[in-house]
Symmetry: C2
Subunit: 144 residues, 2 copies
DNA sequence: ATAATATTGAGAATGATTCTCAATATTATT
DNA sequence: AATAATATTGAGAATCATTCTCAATATTAT
């Protein structure tokens, strides 16, 4: 994405165009899997303050431009919501700490939806969200 | 459960019998939903040090006597694994912060298992665990 | 170009969890 | 039951991710 498009993205969501915001969006665009705050900051040559990074991420989250969630190691992970981003889930590798996006097939997704409706009724609770996460170990033994 | 049974549980898992360990197991037995460290400590009249509580929970976890996981507010929640405990999932209420255990029906559980096998193959990753968590809002408006 | 406003960076503050180690309790031995 | 050997505890310091504060700086509107 060109800078102009990032500018438009920011402006159309009520943000002023600042270097840190543009940088962070670029980094998220170039990442093909969810990424942590520390990694984001590393990719900016340390030019963005940690507090600014957190603040910007929080703002982008409020504007629904990104997804954010906690890794099993309890760090915030972040991914940009692209035009074609649909509801999906994550696979955490406990050896190499990478996170993969996974899709689940439509049939299962529907099953899950109907389960959710059932639980919602049974417990008289409005269910607003759900997560389905997988944990595994890849064959990269270098981390053991 | 009587004290004797708790003593046996501890001994048969290689633990010596100490007051803090017995207390914590009792508290977990009397809790019908996952409970946080702070709540555990509160129920002991503040007699157990925070560091001891964390240590004991970690030990019980190693011995597979309890399940532990993070709440959406990023606190450790803990529940005892009873004889009849089977694989289940959790529903977090974002208003009242309670956690409910939920069962999912066998058919869906099987679907999930087969999805997991598929993803495992596709990504050449051994999948060791998964979580399926629901988030909702109950009708208790006192927290808003 | 200037003024008004918003954002940033640096570091202090916070909150959960982990670590350290001397004091104390438990277990094994007599 | 008393003692010695070993394990556990409590208190507080340390750590780690995240949030807060506020003066310095950048952006936007005029």
């Amino acid at each position: 994405m060109k800078n102009n498009n990032i500018n438009n993205l920011l402006k159309s969501n009520g943000f002023s165009v600042t270097k840190p915001r543009v940088q962070i969006i670029k980094i998220l665009q170039n990442s093909n899997s969810p990424i942590g705050i520390d990694a984001i900051i590393n990719k900016t040559d340390g030019k963005i303050a940690i507090s600014s990074a957190y603040r910007i991420i929080a703002d982008l989250l409020d504007a629904d431009l990104i997804n954010a969630f906690q890794s099993p190691e309890n760090k915030l992970l972040v991914e940009l919501i692209q035009n074609n981003t649909k509801h999906h889930h994550h696979l955490y590798c406990q050896s190499c700490k990478k996170v993969l996006d996974i899709d689940i097939d439509e049939k299962l997704e529907k099953n899950i939806d109907s389960l959710i409706r059932k639980i919602s009724k049974q417990n008289n609770i409005e269910i607003t969200n759900h997560s389905f996460e997988l944990f595994g170990k890849c064959n990269d033994k270098s981390h053991e």
